[in-house]
Subunit: 196 residues, 4 copies
DNA sequence: GATGAATGAGCTTTCATTCAT
DNA sequence: AATGAATGAAAGCTCATTCAT
């Protein structure tokens, strides 16, 4: 039934929000259930365990973030402009729906024990990673980016953006996230562009 | 007495190791005590709570990491060479004593609720951040780095390195961490160097 | 559901009994749960903490004791007779369901730290105190009791009865509690009656 | 050595104070030791256990309270005047050194499990009870008090005073304790005096 | 599908007491 | 006599998960 799909997604959104805000361990299944107005017991009709729920959430979020990158990849513009758009899109997400980025940083990145079975090797974030790979290889193919190890470039790009969102959350930044977008996109471009 | 200081440091090291390996919540006080061969009750003669212990650990680790940066800052060499050395030193640490980096990524960065009182605004990692600030301002003063917002540069540097260590932990890298050091240091240099 | 109400009351009765018999601190939540054949964890579905349970118990008991006084107040008889009946009723209670009186003496009266928030100024025993106030003011209005500070009279009445039940518990009395009722009622009457 | 006797008494006073203020279970041995500036371990050189300490404290306090009654008993005055003086003395104590009365009410009266071995049947408060017995029998012998069961009279006297101090502690009284002394002494006298 | 009472394992923390120094 | 580190047992409480209804 479509209703079941709807409710499943509703649980994913609620879990995403609460896990991101309070962390995996500090969020209880009753918390999530109460937030949605359903019973804790019933939640187990949709997800067999808290761990499984967390894994489904990361896939769900990775799909949404990957979709945003895919849209940029589809554009017909220079690699520099694509970097601008990815950075902007990422910070926009961090501003409007911070749960996606926070989940990544606070839950997925940290609680390895939770994701160890079934999400090894970035498996559960592959839809996002794949789009970043397309972006990178495209830039290289066009001669606009230096050809280097993908993860070298990926680590720079995502580590930078993630780290910056963290700094923003710590309240140490003077300006709003989006106001840094240009500067940061430029740094990334300088780091990755071909020398020609 | 010096014995008490010794034991306190021993607890810090053990907690650092276990928290880094298993995460804050999945590590219990009895785990730490057993690892050291002491009783859980006695541990409370040294640290008043698990949260307090976690806060002392981040300060302890930040001091050690900051000290390594300080040594690089003291060298008489170009900024590019300093970047090389910092990246190398960081990856060396991540290889030999991964608990320091992992603690940063897995415990400090993620469990905000644990550090919210007393570690606000990177207070508990200030010894590390301060050294990075010195590195950056020195490079700018020497005309070797572009003058930009410190946190823009800091986020790139540390986000990149942290993200890369995470990727290494995920097992997606082809080579060993240290073999990436050159490439990564170069990316960082390109991103930050003055245009002249 | 009514079942929940039933179980709640059952817990109150069990806690009353055990707290009264062994004291607040020497009675554990598992003790109470085991006594009822339920799990300790489940008890927390009914009362959020041990302290809260103790506060609910004193209200519960005060209601029951107050109800007994109310019945005497409703009678159409002299004040001396009412004193007789109150003393008798109190000792009857102390004989048949000693937990109510003992709880008052051993738990409520002594463990101030437990009742400090929410039960200040006899708030949690007000249903009982109110009935005693009605008794006293009625006697004064009828000219059978001297008009004096209510708490002077209340202290005499309840301090006396409580103290006597304590002596009985200490095993220093020669006769059964009920056999002292007359003598004690007379003492109280002499103490409080109008001089006319 | 006299020094040992001095320290023992110092511990008794400290324990009396803290037990009375916070209750038996909420006061720890380290609390008492720290209050005196000695170590917890050393305290065990003077008293073999916390329970034993509590028992010694009640004897110590009973001696002091009994001594005050003895002084009244030694006076050459009417029984009514003696009642006045006992009530006054008791309230004075409750005002100036409330720990004695509070210990009686909060610790001795409530924590039966602590005093069950060695203090049965008011054994540990016998020095106080004995003086009250002397007071009572003297009054009867002089024809000023009705001859009745001693504990009937004792329960009235001490239950009343104890209960009133409790009410005072609850903050429900309008006036200070000492201002009630006359009224209360009169009530007691009316209750106990011979009918002649 | 939905509820929520129930369980049981486990966690942090406390504290009386001991004992090497 | 004095210290205080150390122990170990126990307590209050939480929560993922189950299951009868």
């Amino acid at each position: 039934m479509d209703k079941k799909r709807k409710k499943t997604e509703n649980i994913l959104e609620s879990a995403l929000l609460l896990f991101a805000k309070k962390g995996f361990y500090a969020t209880t299944i009753p918390d999530i259930a109460k937030y949605m107005g359903m019973s804790a017991g019933n939640l187990y009709n949709y997800f067999p365990s808290k761990e499984n729920l967390a894994k489904e959430v990361i896939k769900y979020s990775s799909d949404i973030l990957g979709e945003r990158i895919r849209k940029v990849n589809d554009l017909d513009c220079s690699t520099k402009e694509k970097i601008d758009k990815i950075v902007y899109s990422y910070f926009e997400m961090a501003t409007q729906k911070p749960q996606h980025i926070d989940y990544f940083l606070r839950v997925y990145l940290s609680n390895k024990e939770v994701f160890k079975d079934g999400c090894e090797g970035m498996l559960c974030v592959s839809s996002f990673v794949t789009e970043m790979m397309i972006f990178f290889e495209d830039g290289v193919a066009r001669g606009e980016l230096r050809n280097q190890d993908f993860f070298s470039a990926f680590g720079l790009f995502m580590g930078y953006l993630g780290g910056f969102v963290f700094l923003n959350g710590e309240g140490v930044l003077q300006k709003s996230l989006l106001e840094y977008a240009d500067e940061i996109a430029t740094n990334i471009y300088y780091a990755l562009k071909s020398n020609a």
